[in-house]
């Protein structure tokens, strides 16, 4: 039960409010609003045009609307999003496109006080990396970018970004058959 997963297949269009307590993978279209206590995965080709409130979101397709996550939001290299993000952890990978506001909560920004002895900062304060990593997605963990902004050698040569109409079916999430289960639809 813990790993139950809803998949909205590529030919499916849902308009309305979607609520649930399990992971949701979107390969088709959803318009309206989404509230989940788990992870929303928008796959390449998937389009979500909605107000979204989830624990985690991984956007590899298109997301239009505001996204509120209690844990994390990640835009992968094929992700495109227009809207605002509020989440304690936000990751934008090279190649992702985004326009909107990002709010990771309050950052304590010590003001640089020029003229004063600059050693006033005892140690750079760190954002604690206490939050758990994303686990639902089987994909390589985000690698640290190279320190210099030289063309990152690690990024695999990006194929032309897939047109949102044709879906590259990732072997993992789909399993064998494509099932469409929508629970608690209002």
């Amino acid at each position: 039960m813990a790993d139950s997963n809803t998949v909205v297949g590529e030919s499916i269009l849902i308009k309305g409010n979607l609520e649930g307590d399990e992971d949701l993978t979107v390969q088709g279209h959803i318009e309206g609003s989404i509230q989940l206590h788990k992870t929303l995965i928008i796959e390449p080709g998937g389009v979500v045009k909605a107000e979204v409130s989830v624990a985690n979101a991984v956007v590899s397709g298109i997301m239009v609307g505001n996204l509120l996550a209690s844990d994390s939001v990640e835009l992968t290299e094929t992700g495109r999003m227009v809207g605002d993000i509020r989440a304690p952890r936000v990751i934008i990978n090279e190649g992702a496109l985004f326009r909107g506001q990002v709010d990771m909560g309050d950052l304590e920004m010590p003001r640089p006080s020029t003229g004063v002895k600059p050693s006033y900062r005892p140690a750079p304060r760190r954002m604690e990396p206490t939050r758990p990593r994303l686990e639902p997605v089987a994909r390589p963990a985000p690698k640290p970018a190279p320190p210099k902004a030289a063309p990152p050698p690690k990024a695999p040569p990006k194929p032309a970004r897939p047109e949102p109409t044709k879906v590259v079916k990732p072997p993992k999430a789909v399993g064998s058959k494509k099932k469409v289960v929508v629970k608690k639809k209002r």
């Binding site: 298109i62 934008i92 326009r99 003001r111 600059p118 750079p124």
Partner: protein, 114 residues
Amino acid sequence: MAAEPPGVIGKGISIRGNLSGGGDLIIEGSVEGQIALKNHLTIEETGVVQADIEAERLTIKGEASGNIVASERVAILTNAKVMGDIKAPVVVIEDGAGFKGNIDMDVKLPDGIL
């Protein structure tokens, strides 16, 4: 391009005012004011910048507040803290970074989405 070594503003140095020019620059100290560079600016872990920044490429490992315009790329690395609006064709935020503000990468969506 002449491979000039990057300029360095070290840990013990504070600058208040305008900083402009070409060449790569590394900031380990603090800068308050305005920065306009033609090339690559790196704000190191110890760097604290409170300035509007214009550059070709910007890599932030420390702290920055102010608005950022980069013609190529902005990378906010783990443990960096950034507050302000960013306009650049490529913006990368690593896991563990802190950011608050607006990002504008000029997203083109397929017709009919918006």
